[in-house]
């Protein structure tokens, strides 16, 4: 997954300062956005589809994967809340067709227009069955911005930063590798059978977890505690997941005034 893609996904759900004089922050409501696969490279036929979908959506709305205008592909669907949006993962029940374009849509029966196509990608011919790996992960820290000005759309939430990150995929150069983040329990255990609570793409070895803007619907559900243990894994388009690395992060005090 490309950093630009996640950025675009977030941007779709984000914000805009309507008034350049910054008298008020005005956010657009979150819109569905494709997270992975990205449009820049042919996706493996083993790809899963991950999308951010607003939690407030029409009753009965479903995320569908299909060739443009065609019949939906049979998939298993899992989802996990990330605050104002759900991370929805579609796992096709069989490999996708090679060299084929697909579209991802939110289908809302009873509405007009009923189908919102919010992403597209094209498959190549490769399969990806090997897990990526985290080659390095460096400094972890957290900070809050208690002076955040909501009028400027700034969030006072705590943001965790990870630096010195290096990830790779042994069987695919150019694989789109994201970091999935889980919150470990008191015993330091992480349930990777569930979707991550947060999803981010490292850029130049750096990633920020949490929202810096109140318009960002994605939240990192940190506990009210002096520290948190995060489970971090590298995940490729096909859902292959590296072993989890645990990262202990000290949290700033008075995060929730």
């Amino acid at each position: 997954m490309r950093p630009t893609q996640i950025a675009a996904a977030v941007a779709l759900a984000l914000a805009a300062l309507l008034d350049r004089g910054a008298r008020a922050c005005s956010c657009f409501g979150p819109r569905p956005a494709l997270v992975s696969p990205g449009p820049d490279h042919p996706a493996p036929v083993t790809s899963r589809v991950r999308a951010l979908v607003p939690i407030h959506r029409a009753a009965g709305a479903t995320v569908v994967l299909r060739p443009p205008g065609g019949a939906p592909v049979a998939v298993a669907t899992a989802s996990r809340s990330m605050g104002g949006v759900d991370l929805v993962e579609l796992t096709p029940s069989a490999p996708l067709a090679p060299d084929t374009r697909y579209e991802i849509a939110l289908h809302s029966p009873g509405q007009y227009p009923s189908t919102f196509v919010f992403g597209t990608f094209r498959t190549g011919a490769t399969r990806d069955v090997k897990a990526p790996r985290i080659d390095a992960i460096g400094v972890a820290g957290a900070h809050a911005n208690p002076g955040a000005m909501s009028s400027m759309c700034q969030s006072a939430d705590t943001v965790v930063t990870l630096d010195g990150i290096s990830v790779s995929d042994p069987d695919r150069d150019g694989a789109e590798i994201a970091l999935g983040v889980w919150i470990a329990d008191a015993a330091g255990r992480v349930d990777t059978k569930k979707l991550p609570v947060y999803w981010a793409v490292p850029k130049n070895g750096h990633v920020q977890l949490g929202r810096t803007s109140i318009c960002d619907p994605r939240e990192l559900p940190l506990p009210n505690a002096p520290a948190v243990t995060l489970g971090v894994a590298a995940i490729d388009e096909s859902g292959n997941t590296s072993p989890v690395k645990l990262v202990r992060v000290a949290l700033p005090p008075a995060r929730h005034p």
């Binding site: 374009r101 007009y112 009923s114 919010f118």
Partner: protein, 379 residues
């Protein structure tokens, strides 16, 4: 309801494009029938499309079609070289008609295809490409028998097969008549969709969120329906509020109708709807709608405009007539006019002698604003 002929469509159908509109050089049939006592305007000659000069104005460009070629001056252009000295738009050499939308434009080609250029953020080029814009005209996919195209603010529609309608582009409110809306990230999938149940279309009007047609079975609209409470998006459905329409034009957020009694009334939102009611005009041959103003070409070949005047789009200085003109005002200083183009925040008029006059906001407008008509050199 009185139907417009195909010629009327050619002359009157006005793209919404933030107020775009286009007109073929020549005299259009009356859109409001003159009173019985009034002399009827001269019969409309058939458009000589190869020889005609057609002008289109949008927010991003002022274009002229001469013969099969289209030349445009962009809104960021400097200098005032004649329009025909601007490079011809690549990909178009056999255009028979032109429509300029807010930030894109389309031309019908001699073989019945359509080619569009400019902004493609919403897929309004209909070419099935992912680019955000294209200076080169790209063929709209799956269109082979178009005889008219209207480029709107964010979408486009063509009349095909002699009366059916196909649309493409932004569809967040269902304004293309399709049940599928494509996000910008999926614009490469946008291609024309036949609008179900619409045939015999004569006049088409596109606003930002609504499309209306005077179709064979009566007026029909699709998209954001402000006549319902709560406001909702609707697929193509009869539009009884257009029952008296003789011509339609769209622009900005409004669709406007001209009626037989010489009234122009608008629906939707924006200044033409919220700040003023229906306006009365003498017998008129065509009219166009911009982002927040409208102009009519009268049978006596004069032009009147109404609506917002922040950019001088009424053709008279704000200091003289104000910023919200609710009564159609004659545009001064024009010779006899044969064709009118209204778009964005400006307007242009082509004189019988072939001179082009523009006012308001248009590419190449005087730096201090074009509050009165100025000549724009074509050749």
């Amino acid at each position: 309801m009185r139907r417009l002929s195909a010629l009327a469509l050619a002359l009157v159908a006005c793209g919404g494009g933030g107020g775009p509109t286009h007109v073929v050089s020549g005299v259009s049939p009356p859109v409001s029938a003159p009173p019985a006592a009034a002399p009827a305007p001269a019969p409309a000659p058939p458009p000589s499309e190869d020889a005609s000069v057609e002008v289109g104005l949008g927010e991003a460009r002022l274009c002229v079609r001469v013969g099969g070629h289209v030349h445009c001056r962009a809104s960021d252009a400097h200098g005032e070289r004649p329009l025909l000295e601007e490079p011809a738009v690549e990909g178009i050499d056999d255009a028979v008609s032109l429509s300029v939308g807010a930030r894109h434009a389309c031309a019908v080609l001699r073989d019945g295809g359509v080619a569009c250029f400019g902004d493609n953020a919403h897929g309004q080029l209909g070419a099935g490409v992912g680019v955000a814009s294209s200076p080169r005209a790209l063929r709209v996919k799956n269109l082979a028998s178009a005889d008219r195209v209207v480029a709107g603010p964010l979408h486009s529609c063509a009349r095909v097969g002699g009366g059916a309608v196909a649309c493409w582009g932004e569809n967040g409110e269902g304004q293309t008549g399709s049940s599928t809306h494509y996000a910008e990230a999926a614009r490469e999938l946008v291609v024309p969709t036949a609008v179900a149940g619409v045939s015999g279309a004569a006049s088409l009007a596109l606003s930002r969120s609504v499309t209306c047609a005077l179709a064979g079975a009566g007026p029909v609209c699709w998209g954001r329906d402000t006549t319902q409470q709560p406001i909702q998006n609707t697929p193509p459905a009869a539009a009884p509020w257009l029952a008296g329409a003789t011509a339609l034009a769209g622009g900005g957020e409004a669709v406007c109708q001209a009626t037989r009694d010489g009234t122009v009334a608008c629906r939707g939102s924006g200044a033409l709807v919220t700040s003023m009611g229906p306006v009365a005009l003498p017998p008129m041959t065509s009219f166009g709608v911009g982002a927040s103003h409208a102009c009519g070409l009268l049978a006596d070949r004069t032009v009147r405009c109404w609506g917002q005047n922040y950019s001088g789009q009424i053709g008279r200085p704000r200091s003289e007539i104000g910023t919200n003109v609710t009564v159609p005002s004659a545009v001064p200083g024009l010779p006899k006019i044969k064709a009118l183009a209204v778009g964005g925040y400006g307007a242009c008029a082509l004189s019988l002698a072939g001179e082009l006059f523009c006012w308001g906001s248009y590419p190449g407008a005087p730096r201090e604003g074009g509050h009165e008509p100025s000549i724009v050199a074509i050749r």
